[in-house]
């Protein structure tokens, strides 16, 4: 059984402690979200898990066959147009040019990009379009493990919901496991089997929340109710410093 197992993970940048004693397991076909305040070390954790950063203390065991990454800042190749950017991962896997382009076009349309955008360079795309291209590039290779770093943060609520639905569908169809970072609690509740709350200074897991109901059955009502519940959780309030923001 493929899985990603993180044990007693610590990480420092220079003398600053960024992550302390992180433990979790992501098993096949599951979606695990990490929520936490900005600068708390979420991106760092994701980079460690994906092998982009070297593990210093503790261990990360990744037995997934393949993985791909959608970066927080997109990281598109500025000299390639939308389709060629999306097709990059497919070409890297040795797929031929015409099949790759075909698949790239299909997924681009599915993600709400229009035919007239296909030949645009990243400099001519909006922030949300860049995000969708980056997300499409990661998803089109059908990896068995997907790392997503705030993939929907620049999208309007309509598009966000549409892409979340696509993500759930594709992950069920292809049995893809996902490690997901988000700031949006409702998004985490809609998508995740488990949510890790990463508290800052240094980043450590303050609490885990699990949701047993399968994603397809989670309607708006479920999401709203669970969100309301979780926002009253003591640890959430403390981590995001919600109480200090109360109007006097």
């Amino acid at each position: 059984m493929e899985k990603l197992e993180v044990k007693n993970l610590n990480h420092h940048f220079g003398f600053t402690e960024i992550l302390r004693d992180i433990n979790f397991t992501l098993s096949k076909g599951k979606i695990l979200s990490i929520v936490g305040p900005s600068g708390g070390g979420k991106t760092t954790l994701l980079h460690l898990c994906s092998g982009l950063l070297d593990v210093e203390e503790g261990s990360i065991t990744n037995t997934f066959d393949s993985s791909s990454f959608a970066f927080q800042e997109g990281r598109l190749l500025p000299w390639k147009n939308v389709i060629d950017n999306i097709a990059l991962g497919l070409l890297a896997k040795g797929k031929n040019k015409s099949i790759s382009t075909q698949k790239a076009k299909e997924i681009a349309l599915k993600f709400g990009l229009e035919e007239e955008d296909f030949l645009k360079f990243p400099k001519d795309l909006s922030g949300g379009m860049k995000q969708r291209v980056s997300f499409a590039r990661a998803l089109v290779v059908k990896p068995s493990l997907l790392f997503l770093d705030e993939p929907f943060s620049a999208l309007d609520i309509g598009l966000k919901k549409e892409l979340q639905t696509h993500l759930i569908e594709i992950s069920k169809e292809e049995n893809i496991s996902i490690l997901f970072i988000t700031h949006d609690i409702m998004e985490a509740i809609r998508l995740s089997d488990e949510i890790l709350l990463l508290k800052a200074d240094p980043g450590h897991i303050a609490k885990k929340f699990s949701y047993a109901l399968t994603q397809e059955k989670r309607d708006d009502r479920f999401v709203y109710e669970e969100s309301a519940k979780i926002l009253q959780d003591k640890d959430i309030i403390e981590t995001f410093e919600l109480n200090t923001l109360e109007l006097k």
């Binding site: 993985s67 990454f69 800042e73 990281r75 500025p78 400099k123």
Partner: protein, 260 residues
Amino acid sequence: MKFILKILKNLPAYLWSGWGAIASILLFIAFWDIGNQIYGNLVLPSPLETFKTLYAMLHSQDVWEQIDITLYRASVGFGLSLLFGSVLGLIAGFFATASMMSRPVVTILVGMPPIAWIVLAMIWFGMGDETVIFTILVASFPIIFVGALQGTRTLDGDLKEMADSFHLPWHMKFIDVYFPHIFSYIFPAWVSGLGMAWKIVIMAELLATSDGLGASLAVARSQLDTPTALALVVIMIGSLMFIEYIILEPIKREVELWRS
């Protein structure tokens, strides 16, 4: 192939945009004519006379031979700088130590006046092709070297990481990730290197050889034949403008469409 077609397709529109340039050249010629009326024919022959001389020269076999000789020297010198500058610059860029070690050498090469190189080359190689080619090489090599070095040094670490995360094979990494970035630095360096080569070839010929355009210029000077001298200058400038605006600029435009 598709690429070349695209360049050709966009060429008319590009040329059309050249009207402004033509207007400014005509204005320049007008001032030139005023200068002629003030200072007289010996100091500054009129544009008309110059172009007549030019026309006559272009019909003479001998002038074309001189142009050939100069072109040959310039191309060999520039070709060598292009090759060595690009390759060594790339290598130096990939290794931090190499790029640090190369800095003083580059400073010396850039700082040394070409005229000093010509003198040294004349002592080392005598009067002939080698002297000219050597001088071009030392003058335009550092420009290209620095361009290649900068291009390699400034590669985006984030994009490299992205390429690793998608397990790009090495040839894709080079063609799709490194090359376009490096090219956007190295190509302008090639263009300036070429301009430099063209200037240096004339200067070196003037001082160190008995043939080529530069030497013809020296002869025109000694005979106080100003129209011929100016006609030669027009040939030099005209050919450089042709290469730069008709050949290089359209290529650059197509290759750099992705830039804002």
